[in-house]
């Protein structure tokens, strides 16, 4: 079973990058899980948090608003401390972005393509499969895709957390959530569903990090 609210360290604080996007939805979800969060708008705030969520929004706008100094500070943070990116946040965490190409933070060895499913008219709510680390099983979970990106390639050190579909031309389901080390990413929006399991996974990751001071690299 996943930990309940009382399990979490009281002093643990998660930041939500709040330069633009649906950061309030992530903060609400963390609040529901009994986790303290702060909106992060400046580089110096990264020192006050144990983990970071990069929300959905427009990744291009994130880059313009961050500027060089904040971007550099963020790159250091996401490559050393627990970070979770959803949609635009997942784009930010990739090593390579296509459609069009743009700079990214490189915390997860993957190639991701922006707006890969099409425009808003192609946005949809679908049911995918979430991997459970406890007993190696898959369980169904609702996934909200909004002008979603697509993970086109993952490197050898990247663990698949969730998939969706399975009738693609090559017969393979799409990879929609991944983890590498202490970085997690989802191309859908768990913050817009009532199911909190994906956030619980991330909170547990931050929790582990707080206890041990580092996270094991997933195999």
């Amino acid at each position: 079973m996943l930990p309940r609210r009382s399990y979490y360290t009281k002093s643990m604080r998660i930041g939500v990058l709040a330069i633009q996007g649906d950061f309030a939805a992530h903060q609400l979800r963390l609040h529901q899980l009994g986790v303290e969060s702060i909106p992060v708008r400046k580089a110096e705030q990264l020192a006050q948090i144990e983990g970071l969520i990069i929300p959905g929004g427009e990744s291009g706008a994130f880059l313009k608003l961050l500027g060089d100094d904040f971007f550099a500070a963020l790159r250091i943070f996401v490559n050393s401390k627990p970070t979770f990116g959803t949609c635009a946040g997942a784009i930010m965490l990739a090593t390579e972005v296509l459609g069009p190409a743009q700079p990214s933070l490189g915390a997860i060895d993957m190639t991701i393509r922006r707006n890969a499913y099409g425009r808003q008219i192609d946005s949809s709510i679908r049911t995918g499969k979430l991997a459970s680390s406890a007993n190696n099983t898959l369980s169904e979970i609702e996934m909200v895709f909004i002008r979603a990106p697509k993970i086109e390639r993952i490197g050898p050190g990247v663990q698949v957390l969730a998939t969706e579909g399975g009738t693609a031309p090559d017969g393979q389901p799409d990879i929609v959530a991944v983890r590498q080390g202490s970085a997690m990413a989802a191309t859908f929006h768990p913050e817009l569903s009532s199911d909190s399991r994906v956030h619980q996974l991330f909170v547990a990751l931050v929790q582990d990090y707080c206890k041990t001071g580092a996270t094991e690299t997933s195999k």
């Binding site: 649906d22 427009e58 709510i125 579909g165």
Partner: protein
């Protein structure tokens, strides 16, 4: 292929699924700036400055005011060019009640449709039945009742009307204050008072009850209409707006004169930054210092009331 098949079968009947997707995109735009653009060059300037979306239209409101005539949906070819030029969402306007224009924009694939008082209304009694569309709609409002009537019709985002094309923020402020005040009042009322409030606001009692319980609109609440400076953006954000639309204020110096590309880019960047850091006076000071000037504008209280756009819509 699989995506399209599964989405169309899923979305066929489920109204709430559809509304969640529609408001979902608005959630992604929060804290951002949506800019009016009239061609692909302007769209690229807006995207480079950090706009979260663009509104594609043939004439910005200040030009419509200056030129007069019937203002209609923009040419689909012109909108298509803008859609090809940028990777951020593209919105476009239809006349109030003109569901055929909306059908065309949906077929074109725009990401959001603005049923807008800036264009000449096509129907004197009815707005578009927005539930019939898969493409989300944004509509203008001056008070809570108007906002809830639009939401009842299926709008997935509300923006204040303000007075478009003037560069005068006074009515965007008035409308945001009015909506926030109306909502705060409902939260203090007892259940049995809400029926009369529904009558007063001329809005469905279910939506009145929802606002009374949550203190906010069931869809995102943005600001528009006369926002021209970084300080204006901060002002409406501090009053409760969740994002801002900037129309004529970036690319125009007056109703007939365009700003230079350099000046427009500078204004756009400043307003984007001010919207993110709306609570930080030091950042506002910094970005305001970079502004070389804002559009000349038109003081709304000196205008002939027949020239007001905000009174369009029912």
């Amino acid at each position: 292929m699989s995506k399209k098949n599964s989405s169309s079968s899923n979305a066929s009947s489920q109204g709430s699924t559809s509304l969640r997707l529609k408001t979902g995109l608005a959630e992604m735009l929060k804290g951002g700036v949506i800019m009016d653009v009239i061609n692909d060059d302007q769209a690229r300037i807006a995207e480079d400055a950090g706009a979260v979306a663009v509104m594609a239209l043939e004439r910005v409101p200040a030009m419509i005011r200056a030129q007069g005539g019937v203002a209609r949906m923009s040419s689909p070819n012109m909108i298509r060019k803008i859609m090809a030029a940028v990777s951020i969402p593209v919105m476009a306007k239809v006349r109030i009640g003109h569901f055929a224009e909306a059908q065309i924009l949906e077929a074109l694939g725009v990401d959001y449709i603005d049923e807008s008082e800036v264009l000449t209304p096509a129907d004197e009694a009815h707005h578009v039945d927005k539930h019939k569309f898969k493409t989300p709609f944004v509509c203008g409002a001056r008070n809570l009742g108007e906002a809830l009537r639009r939401i009842a019709e299926g709008a997935a985002m509300i923006r204040t009307k303000g007075e478009a094309g003037t560069g005068d923020v006074v009515h965007a402020v008035k409308h945001m204050r009015q909506i926030m005040r109306d909502m705060r009042m409902l939260t203090s009322m007892s259940e049995d008072e809400l029926y009369a409030e529904a009558k007063n606001h001329q809005a469905p009692v279910e939506l009145i009850r929802m606002v009374a319980q949550t203190g906010k609109l069931p869809v995102p609440n943005f600001s528009a209409g006369g926002i021209a400076t970084p300080a204006d953006a901060s002002l409406v954000m501090q009053l409760g707006a969740e994002a801002v639309f900037v129309g004529s204020g970036i690319f125009m110096n007056s109703g007939t004169k365009f700003a230079s590309a350099k000046e427009a880019a500078q204004r756009a960047r400043a307003i984007v930054k001010a919207t993110t850091h709306y609570q930080d006076p030091n950042v506002l000071l910094e970005v305001s210092g970079d502004m070389t000037g804002a559009m000349k504008g038109l003081a709304v209280d000196q205008m002939d009331p027949t020239q007001l756009m905000q009174t369009r819509g029912w």
